[in-house]
Each structure stands twice: as structure tokens, then as C-alpha cells.
Symmetry: C2
Subunit: 504 residues, 2 copies
């Protein structure tokens, strides 16, 4: 039994997932009496999500509570049952792996002085759609208003106001709820509030490998601290958490929105085009420098004559990016915001002193998608994987949108779903795990009294009725961390009479 042998359910799960994926994502069936319902066209995700895949039978006219089960379980033969599209069940081994990772992260951040909070999974729809969530706003699941009449719905449809069908939505990240939470409770919170949030978020994206519609985020944020001590504490706390998870060898990429804006301005892009240009730069690892230049030209953000200079400024940096000020001699880097760059140096030096071994790399093309970032931005780079394991940045303007007065803020988010697949889970965490195999004729009271005896000694105990083929049962329990077993017969009086044998 290898250290990762408990992960086989994951593989099976992905097979189920593939089955789901083969459904036509553009089908808008499943709405009785409505053919070819056309999506709003606001986003591809909305279109994809509009489908009703998997041959699920359509809702019928039965009111709730009528006991009408037959419409999806008819003829005695149950239809296949899966979790909703893009969402996952976690079997015991998967769940144990996730709880282990969550426990490590929670303990690490608590030791660092962060305090955990929780908000409801829903927020008012108007808050979720306030422009702070960027493209993610389009991916929010909306909650249908309760008590709507057909007349009201008809009037809303006639007015084209479908947004009024929902009053609440599921959060798509933990940052918007945190800003709302801070505004709700500021009087009860310390001046500098250091929070941890570990919770699921939901996005109606096209499901694909490693991208789900329900996934967990782990955020730490410092609200109320304008100085770089906040960035340094967040980055070193994150490095500590990665260490505690056994994820070594990562680097932190860092940039500053002021530097990014200076770079884009140097290309002659007007300020109104900055945000759009950033989206293009963000794709550089996928489309290359040439692709970025081509897209900026297509968008009309740069002039054709500037293409070469743009390509040069994107590709002409040393590997770790820290020598730019020294290049002043040979013409320098004219677009560089020197104050911001020196701040990044200070952060780099402090992180190297506090948590040596995890390098900070200046990446002038690092963007981080969200529009609310105002200063430093950073990202965890895994040594081998092509994607980041988390990231964050400073968003000094956001809290003020909820509170009315500006409060500085900076956060760092771990990509939990990616991390949980990378870690090794230590086996045998539980002290003494015992299986009691019992014969069918053992009295329940006698069996469970013996179990209780062992529990009182601090053991984990599972009772298991003797099966015809006991071997696979015991193998499965060995994988679940049980270390030994004993048989209980009608003659077994108490725990002292048990004869233990090793498992696995």
C-alpha cells in the first residue's frame, strides 16, 4: 500500500466527471414547452451554464410536497444519479485528505496571529454585482426570489429585467464578502484586522479538469495597515503555510500595479485602455510576447509602429527582474515606477530575512486578473507546474466602496483545490485504530460494550459484521488507517479476551 493509495476514489470520480462532460454544453433543453431558448449572450459561461445536461428529466407541474417521486425514478429502475454538473462528492479518503490540509492551513495561520471569521454563502445580489468582482460577477449563481407570482415574473420578463428575479447570489470569491463583513462589523474589530477565511465559493464556469463550480478558497487579509509590513507578513505567513503542507521549492512572483500602469502608458495606451491591456498581458504565458503584441494591435490599443518597442519591453528583462535600476547607465528602463520598484525591493529583502529559501521574483508582466488591485500583486509559482498555487495583492480602494471611507487592505489567497492534490497525507495519524469483526449472533449490547471499553482507552474503533469475503473489507479499512483487528464471538466476554492481529 503506497502512501497515495488512498486516492483511488479520485480517479473514479474523474471518470464520472468525464461522462458528464460529454454532454452537449450548449443544449438548452429541459425547459418544457420552450424550444431554442436563446441565452442572454452576456458571457460564454452563462451560455454554457444554460444547458440541462445528463438527460435529467424536466421539472413537471407538480407542486412541492405532493410526494411526486416518479417523474425522475419511474418504472422501478432508478436513473443514474450524479452531483450537479461541475461539482464533486468527496468520499471518505478524499474528505480525510481535504480535512488534513485544512487543519494544517488553519493551524498555521492561527499561529501567525490571524483570526478566522465566517460569512453566509449568500450575499445580496446588488452587492455581488457592484463591479468589484470583475468577470467573476457574470459567473455568480443567482437565488430565485421566494414567493414570486407568475404575473410578477411575466411583468419582469416584459420589462427585460431578469436581474430582478434574484435577490441573493452565491459568493464567487471571499474578498467581496470580507469587505461587506468589515463594513458591517467595523466597530467590533481591531484597527488592524487580520482575518482568515476558509470556505467554498461558486462559479458557473465551464467545468474542466481542475476547474470546478464549487471550490474552496483559503484567504488571509490584513485590513487597516497601509505599510509594507502587511505584505511581508502575508507573504511570510503563506510561505510558512506552504512549508507546513510540505510544499517546498515554490517561488513568489511579485509586481506592482503602478509599474504595470507605467509600462502600459509607455506604449502610448490611453488610461481608459489600461484594464483591457492588462487582460491581454495576463495571457502572455499562453500566447507569448508576439501574441500579446498582436492582440494589443487588434484592440487598437497600440499603434503598429510601437509593436517592436512593446515586444522589447515585455521580453527584455533579466530573469529575476531585480537589476533594473542598475541599468540606468545604459539608457535605463524609462517606464519603471521607481518608488514602487524600491518598495518591492524592500519586501523582497525582508521576506529573504524572515523566510529564507523562498525567492521573490520581480515579474513586470504579472497582472492578477482582478480590477480592484491598487498596489503590490503577487502569485505563488510552483517549481514544476504551469499554474500558480495562489496569489493576491493590495486593494486599498475596495473597503471604501462598502464603508464610505477608505481603508487600506491587502490579501493572499491559497488555491486550495490545486494544493490538496499535491500534498502527501501522513498515514496512521490516529493513535490506535481497531476493527472488531463480529459474528452475526453476537448480542449488540455485548459487542458495543467491548467497543466502548476500547474507546475509553483512547482507541478509534469500528465494528464490522463478518462478511463472506472479509479480505476486501479489511484491506479498505487498512487504507483508512486502521492498524489491527480482532474477532468478537458470542463467547467474548470483554476486551481483555480479544486477540489482535495486524491489518495491512
Amino acid at each position: 500500500m503506497g502512501p497515495r493509495s488512498e486516492r483511488s476514489p479520485t480517479l473514479r470520480r474523474e471518470m464520472v466527471f468525464s461522462d458528464i462532460e460529454q454532454c452537449n454544453p450548449d443544449a438548452v433543453s429541459g425547459i418544457p414547452g420552450v424550444a431554442g431558448a436563446s441565452p442572454r449572450g452576456a458571457s460564454w459561461a452563462g451560455r454554457v451554464a444554460g444547458g440541462a445536461p445528463r438527460g435529467r428529466p424536466t421539472p413537471n407541474g407538480n407542486g412541492p410536497g405532493t410526494g411526486a417521486v416518479g417523474h425522475w425514478n419511474n418504472g422501478g429502475m432508478a436513473r443514474p444519479v450524479n452531483p450537479p454538473r461541475g461539482m464533486r462528492d468527496f468520499l471518505p479518503a478524499d474528505k480525510a485528505r481535504r480535512e488534513h490540509a485544512l487543519g494544517v492551513i488553519r493551524a498555521s495561520y492561527a499561529a501567525q496571529g490571524f483570526e478566522e471569521i465566517e460569512t453566509p454563502v449568500m450575499e445580496d445580489a446588488s452587492r455581488l454585482h457592484s463591479g468589484l468582482g470583475g468577470d467573476n460577477e457574470k459567473l455568480a449563481f443567482g437565488i430565485l426570489r421566494r414567493g414570486l407570482s407568475a404575473e410578477t415574473v411575466a411583468e419582469l420578463a416584459a420589462a427585460g429585467d431578469l436581474e430582478a428575479l434574484t435577490d441573493l447570489g452565491l459568493r464567487f470569491d471571499l474578498t467581496v464578502p470580507l469587505a461587506r463583513f468589515y463594513a458591517s462589523h467595523r466597530a467590533a474589530l481591531p484597527n488592524v484586522f487580520k482575518s482568515v477565511q476558509i470556505a467554498p465559493v461558486w462559479r458557473a464556469e465551464r467545468p474542466q479538469k481542475g476547474r470546478y463550480r464549487q471550490f474552496v478558497q483559503c484567504d488571509i487579509d490584513i485590513i487597516g495597515e497601509a505599510g509594507i509590513v502587511a505584505e511581508i507578513e502575508l507573504i511570510t505567513a503563506t510561505i510558512d503555510a506552504l512549508d507546513a503542507l510540505g510544499l517546498t521549492g515554490c517561488a513568489i512572483r511579485i509586481n506592482h500595479r503602478a509599474i504595470l500602469r507605467g509600462l502600459i502608458a509607455s506604449w502610448g495606451v490611453a488610461e481608459a485602455g489600461y484594464e483591457r491591456a492588462m487582460i491581454t498581458i495576463d495571457k502572455q504565458d499562453k500566447i507569448g510576447v508576439d501574441g500579446v503584441v498582436a492582440e494589443l494591435l487588434d484592440l487598437g490599443l497600440i499603434a503598429a509602429s510601437d509593436g517592436g518597442a512593446v515586444a522589447d519591453s515585455l521580453s527584455g528583462l533579466p530573469d529575476d527582474g531585480w537589476g533594473l535600476l542598475e541599468r540606468a547607465d545604459d539608457g535605463g528602463v524609462p517606464w519603471l515606477d521607481e518608488a514602487a520598484y524600491r518598495q518591492l525591493h524592500d519586501i523582497r529583502d525582508a521576506v529573504a530575512e524572515v523566510t529564507p529559501g523562498t525567492p521573490l521574483v520581480f515579474s513586470h508582466d504579472l497582472v492578477r486578473g482582478m480590477g480592484y488591485y491598487t498596489g503590490t500583486i503577487f502569485e505563488i509559482q510552483h517549481p514544476e507546474l504551469g499554474y500558480s498555487l495562489g496569489g493576491g495583492g493590495r486593494y486599498d480602494g475596495m473597503i471604501g466602496r462598502f464603508l464610505g471611507t477608505d481603508v487600506p487592505a491587502v490579501g493572499f489567497s491559497l488555491g486550495f483545490e490545486r494544493i490538496v492534490d499535491l500534498i502527501d497525507v501522513p498515514q496512521g495519524g490516529v493513535a490506535d485504530s481497531i476493527v472488531l469483526v463480529y459474528d452475526r449472533d453476537v448480542a449488540p449490547a455485548a459487542l458495543l460494550r467491548i467497543k466502548q471499553e476500547l474507546l475509553r482507552r483512547g482507541a478509534r474503533v469500528r465494528v464490522e459484521r463478518r462478511a463472506k469475503n472479509l479480505k476486501p473489507v479489511l484491506e479498505r479499512l487498512a487504507e483508512a488507517g486502521y492498524g489491527r483487528f480482532a474477532t468478537v464471538t458470542r463467547q467474548t466476554r470483554d476486551a481483555s479476551a480479544l486477540e489482535f492481529r495486524p491489518l495491512g
Copy 2:
């Protein structure tokens, strides 16, 4: 500082909650251009939930992603921001209390050999509304289909088919998702599957003290075991969990649906009326025996001439209910299903042997609301409180509705929200909790290096910039479990130079 002093945020939270409650729950405002939208009338909960309270501004015509924040934060003065109606934020002290309780419950059930699983918060709407959830089905929050066009919505409204607006819903309990999970994954699960689920559920009920729209349930279930060893293991595991939480003095009320059916049949109620009669009996602790008789008469379920006999059979039992078979001499208890009653005796005797000290009380009028129960039903009775702390029962028919073949099942659910308010949280769980108060001119690298030194020694460390009035800051941290503090100045070289003083 008393042991419960950390709970003041709860009080503040309840004040906020009261504010919300004062809004007119029947107002269906907030839908622009629609006056007096009439609720469907299916349930009072639907009507209440239809309101748009708290003066929340109405959704406007701005598309998502336009950056339109101003419509709810206009004129520079932010509106009050609260979590959605009936849902709660948890501040650090509340969250720590909850995590403590969850940790105790999780460890207790794991030791008992139960395995934790997780399902997505959403299920297909058709599964949630399959008749298995009873009245709770009406309370499910529905997820609006993605990509609906105004034309589609208009057609659905014209057809009166509002249910087709949603394809998914938030789970209202953990039992329906468990049955779906078991059907999805049966091949990967052991023949007797013992599960733990600890997760939030949602119900659009009228919020009131102690009743929320998002709340956590803790369920253990045994699927695949028809014998009473399952009931005994669930009940003793629950008693152990209550013990671990420090909740002593509880009793378990127990009954059997066969006994209840026998009782109701003895009143001359036709079988089609059993379910309705049970709902009435369930109110006995609120409306008394006379109230139950009156309601049964009103409903036409019993004849006026039988009223006296009904009242006698409801009130004429000994206190702990266990002596009924001995009464055979003086006419006996003719409605009693003796086989079921003897089974309850066996459960009682076994529980007394395994976990003495928590009595089982036979309650022939215990109903437990859900229609899916088929056999034993039970409930935790707190010695002082007027409400139960959890309950469960056998639901042998339910899995078959999802799977196509019958599988026996029995479950026990803890009322987490009630329990978490009753427990005492041990203080100072974290080994050595240190606050480092630092002067503004201390270099961040030096400060955080000292923090790191202390972390490496196993301490929990929080850095706190010196404030004008440090006292309330330190008091708050003492309540959060920090035990001592030291000051870091520009002269502090390392942790050995710190002078610690006790906190609190």
C-alpha cells in the same frame, strides 16, 4: 474575564438581527415597476421570503461588469450593510467557539468508526422536490437557471411553470443528499456504510430567535444494516459526542412508527390520514392533549364519540413508558405493536449497558416530522430546555427511491446551532500565545524575524502596532487567548532581548 466573556459579539449580532426583523416581512417591494406582486400562497415561508427588506436599493438596469457601484453606495455615504436576512456573520470569538465544537464532534464520531463525506451544497431541483423532504421542500432556496432569455422567462410565466426557472436548489437537509450520494457511489462504498456529514443547510423560513436560514447540521448515518445494532451504535455514539462536548444530563426519547401507526389506527383513523394525524400529535407539547383531540376532530380524522378514548390513550402512560406489557392484566394497551415495543426494550437495555447514565424514555407520542421514517425514531431531550438537541430514526425506504433497490438506513442528527450555544469553550488551548507590540519605526524585516523566531519555538504570535490607547487592544487579545506580550523597539535585536509581561 469570565469563561463566556468572549461571547459579547453574539449579543451585538442579535441586536442587528432585531433591526432586520422590524421590517415588514410581507412587503414585496424592491421590484421596480411591479406593485403588489402577489405571492404564490403555497406557504407562509414563501410569502415572508418574498420581501425585499432593509431598504436595499433595487437592482437597476446596469449590466454586470460595468463597475456600477453607486447605485447602492451613493453620495459618498455608505448604506448600512448586513448579511442577508436570517443569516449570520461569525466574528473571531464566535467562529473559534464553532470550530472548537466541530472539532470535538468530528473527533468523537471518527473514534466511533464513522467516515466523513461531503456533497455539494446544491442538488438537482427535481431531486430536492421529490417528496422526500416533507415541508422542508417548500423552504428550499432555488438557483436561477443560467442563460435564460426574457422570451423564455415570459413563456414559462405564461405557462405558469415557475419551477422551470430553477434547475438546482440549496439542500435543506443532509439526508436527501446522503441518499443521492449513496446511490451515486454505492460500488465504492462498504456494504455497511457509516457516514458523518457536518455541513450547512439552508431553509427560507421566517427568521426568529434560534432559527436561521443557514445553519449547520451534524449527521451520522448507518446504511445497509437492518438490525438494531445500528440504532444502538448511533445512539451510543451520539451520547459519547454529547459527553465530549460537556453536555450531560440529557435523555433520549424513543418511539417506533409502527407503534404510532397502531395508536392512530386504534382511533379509527383511516390509513390515508396517518401522516396528517402525526403532524397534529407532534404539537402535543404546545397545544396539549385537548388541543390534539380538538384538531383531530376539526380535521375529521376521528369521530366526536372517540374524543375521550383518544385523550385517554395519549395521556394514560407511565412516566418512562416502559411498563406497558405488564399492564396486560388490567386490560392491557390494545393498540401497542408488541414486536416494535420489544425492539425498543432491547435498544434501551443495550444502551444502558454501553453508555449508562443517559436514560432512554419511551414516548408513544414522539413523532419526528419527516415522512420518510419507517421504524425507530428518537430525539435528544435536554434536562432544562424545552426543545430537543437533535434526533433521527430509521428510513428504510428512502435509499431505494434513489437507487431502485431498497437498502435499510438509520440516522441521528445533532442540532449544532443549539448545542454550540450551550457548551463551554476551554480557554488557552494554544500553547504559548504572544503579542509583539511594535513601535512604528521598527523595520518590518526585524519585527517579523523576531516573530518567526518565536513561531519556530511553537508559539502563536501576533504583531500589533503600538496604538495611542493600547489597553483595549490588549484586553481584546487576552480574550482571544493571548497570554503575554512584549514590546519590540528599534533597538530589539532578537527574541532573547524581549521582556514579556502577562496579559489579562
